[in-house]
């Protein structure tokens, strides 16, 4: 049975349960204080008993039924012709599944077409069985809860306990996501590090996954050029653009602009942060890169490349400006007014006050903001994919094409190779490095911001 039908079935049963239970509970109501809980709570109590067990049953059933279906198909006489080798068996079975789902699909082996018919029959049988099972569980749960509709029954307390569990479950989902990220990255990266030594990966300077066949894996998976490219584009070029512009905009907006100008300028500046990165990437590739190439050739460079670290870094820096600006804004606003007033009272001009008093006092907050900005820039993908290039090289020339960790992750995972090759697994190792580095930057920055705020409170 397909998922939407079963879900609708469960919901329909729940709806019926809600109305019958409420009607029954209303009959019990004989006046103020005659019941522990309002009729609606009895209704919700019944719904919980119908929906939750039924959903659990269904999840359990969908996790075991493919295996049961396979078993049933293997018992079919037509399956006797299946090859013994488990890999081939699995491929033919999955082909048969595709043919069963869509008769126009042509399998590579005639056997799969023969097996499609028993497959479809088994799917139907087990699907109906599963739906029946879910229905029985729902009715049993609903029936049990229905017998509890009595005037003294604390339905509200029970329902509220269920709501609490739901709330707790929702907040655990965030932890589950974190655990899922760490587990999947560590697991796949672990598979990669079985073939390639972590030291060679982290310290090697030659990156050429395409050549990595046979035994010389270690020498082709040196990720240092990628780390350098990432740092050069995200933490150096982008920050050279973003820090001065972001900081000066924040200073101008908070210290010089009047309230009206600020109200207009700030949201417009924030638009820069809301533009999707793919748009920036296209702009970098379409406009920025050719402009930089022309500039380079007019400066006497021979054969400048269309893809340059400079184009990607510049555009990325512009994208980060509002972020740096709002962090600097917060940091400057956290400095007590009295410090600036003291300086102004001594006769310092406004710019002298900003440079000599406000900025030094706000420095920890600004540094933390820059760290967060760097963590955002090095995790940025689309701009570098579209504008930075694929060549892994260690070079300090901003006009050369350079590659980054995120670019390589995309490159490695969007081909059509088999999943468990070292080449695809190396993407997860790169992802792990990226995750750890951004995590460390974020944790340090958040801690600095917190301590900095406390210092002035």
């Amino acid at each position: 049975m397909s998922a939407p039908i079963v879900l609708l079935l469960i919901l329909a049963l729940g709806l019926v349960g809600w109305f019958t239970a409420r009607a029954r509970a209303r009959l019990l109501y004989t006046g103020r204080g005659s019941m522990h809980s309002m009729p609606t709570y009895h209704a919700w109590h019944v719904v919980l008993w119908i929906v939750v067990p039924a959903l659990l049953t269904w999840v359990l059933w969908t996790s075991v039924s493919p295996e049961l279906i396979n078993q049933a198909v293997l018992n079919d006489p037509a399956a006797a012709a299946l090859p013994e080798e488990p890999m081939q068996r699995a491929t033919i079975l999955s082909e048969a599944r595709s043919v069963a789902a869509d008769p126009s699909f042509i399998g590579f082996t005639p056997l799969s077409t023969q097996l499609a018919e028993p497959m479809r029959a088994a799917q139907l049988r087990f699907g109906l069985l599963g739906a029946a099972l879910v229905g029985i569980v729902a009715l049993a749960g609903g029936g049990y809860a229905f017998t509890r509709v009595r005037s003294r029954f604390p339905a509200r307390t029970r329902v509220e306990r269920g709501v609490m569990l739901l709330l707790l479950g929702a907040s655990l989902l965030a932890v589950l996501t974190t655990v899922g990220i760490i587990a999947s990255l560590v697991f796949e990266a672990g598979l990669f590090f079985r073939d390639v030594s972590p030291i060679a990966f982290l310290t090697g300077t030659h990156w050429a996954p395409a050549n990595a066949v046979g035994n010389d894996l270690d020498s082709n998976f040196g990720a240092v050029p990628l780390f350098w490219g990432t740092i050069y584009i995200g933490a150096i070029i982008a920050m050279i653009v973003a820090i001065p512009l972001g900081l000066m905009s924040a200073i101008y907006l908070t210290q010089y602009a009047d309230a009206r100008a600020r109200k207009v300028l700030k949201p417009i500046l924030e638009i820069l942060a809301g533009i999707p990165t793919v748009v920036y990437g296209y702009f970098a590739a379409l406009t920025m890169a050719p402009a930089i190439r022309d500039l380079a050739s007019s400066l006497g460079y021979a054969n400048p490349s269309t893809e340059s670290a400079l184009a990607a870094g510049l555009v990325m820096g512009v994208m980060i400006i509002p972020f740096v600006s709002s962090m600097a804004d917060d940091a400057i606003a956290a400095v007590p007014r009295a410090m600036a007033d003291g300086s102004l009272a001594m006769g310092a001009t406004k710019s002298e006050t900003i440079k000599k008093v406000l900025l030094p006092a706000a420095l920890p907050g600004i540094v933390a903001g820059v760290m967060l900005a760097i963590s955002r820039a090095i995790g940025e993908t689309m701009i570098v994919v579209m504008a930075a290039g694929a060549a892994a090289r260690l070079s300090a020339d901003p006009l050369e094409s350079m590659t980054t960790v995120t670019y390589q992750i995309v490159q490695l995972l969007t081909g059509d190779q088999e999943f468990n090759s070292p080449k695809t697994l190396s993407a997860f190792a790169l992802g792990l490095v990226l995750f750890v580095v951004t995590l460390i930057l974020n944790i340090i920055a958040l801690r600095v911001v917190k301590r900095f705020r406390e210092a002035y409170e």
Partner: protein, 294 residues
């Protein structure tokens, strides 16, 4: 000493300091103007290249190998289905988690862990969520590749922390007197929250949700990881069909060599920016109309 303030040296010195002041102010203004100029150039170039391509055929067509015949409808529909899945998952989950953390959670080590992980998830690079989606949804659960279902699930995990954070701020802004009043007339804690606090916090939560959804709508990198880059010539009819999304369509067209696709890419960018503008406008409208200052 009689006239230090009028001495030529002093006047010169003060003039120099005031000139420095003006220079500093100009640099600040220059920084803003430069940033906004960049924005203006970006928008101008997209409009110049793309406006000519915006017509009904472009809006109602699907991807094609021929630049003239290609349109965005398939991608818009894919984006819509993906956003639907994302919203249906991340909104309830995010709001429930925000309620729990703000109203009911006991102060202990476990809850600290939940908070730390939510704050960090909000700053994890989006491509990492793509890797998670690839490893979990596609390789472990065998969900259909490049479908709005998997895309929506992946983006929901990414959007949920944003909704939780904005939801918590909105709930925190509801004054305790509301809670005390409800509790005083005999409402239970759950009733207090769901009947009184949540409705008052809802505009703030919705604003945060729309901003989170706008971010998810423009996201490309995680969807690249789960294979949403295939050439799809027919719009998806359900959430399990292979589909493209708007930012992915922009990315795919930007790679085409045919010059005709420059116009298509820019026109698709205009469509995407229009959607984002509408969503952000709605968020600002909601905030201004319903937000209560306590």
């Amino acid at each position: 000493m009689s006239n230090t303030w009028q001495s030529p040296a002093m006047i010169k010195r003060i003039a120099r300091r005031h000139a420095a002041e003006r220079r500093f102010r100009l640099v600040g203004l220059g920084a803003i103007v430069l940033s906004l100029l960049f924005l203006a150039v970006l928008l101008f170039i997209m409009l110049k290249n793309g406006l000519g391509g915006l017509d009904w055929e472009f809006l109602s067509g699907s991807d094609a190998t021929n630049a003239d015949a290609a349109g965005v409808w398939g991608a818009v529909k894919g984006s819509f289905l993906t956003m639907l899945v994302t919203l249906l998952l991340s909104f309830p989950m995010g709001v429930l988690a925000a309620i729990y953390l703000e109203e009911f959670a006991p102060r202990n080590k476990w809850i600290d862990w939940v908070e730390v992980s939510i704050n960090n998830l909000a700053a994890v690079p989006s491509i990492i969520f793509g890797l998670l989606g690839l490893a979990v949804f596609i390789n472990t659960f065998n969900l259909p590749r490049s479908s709005p279902l998997v895309g929506g699930l992946t983006l929901a995990l990414m959007t949920m922390p944003i909704i939780v954070i904005s939801g918590r701020n909105a709930i925190k802004a509801v004054p305790p007197s509301i809670r005390n009043a409800a509790l005083a007339v005999g409402a239970s804690e759950v009733q207090t929250v769901f009947h009184h606090v949540l409705p008052l916090a809802l505009p703030g939560i919705l604003t945060g949700t729309i901003i989170g959804m706008a971010r998810a709508l423009g996201e490309t990198a995680p969807l690249l990881m789960i294979g949403m880059r295939a050439f799809v010539a027919t719009p998806a009819s359900g959430i399990t069909d292979p589909s493209s999304v708007l930012p992915m369509q922009i990315f795919l067209w930007s790679d085409e060599i045919d010059r005709g696709f420059v116009q298509n890419t820019s026109a698709a960018i205009i469509v995407l920016l229009m959607f984002l503008l509408a969503m952000n406008g709605l968020a600002i409208y909601l905030r201004n109309k319903f937000e209560v200052r306590w």
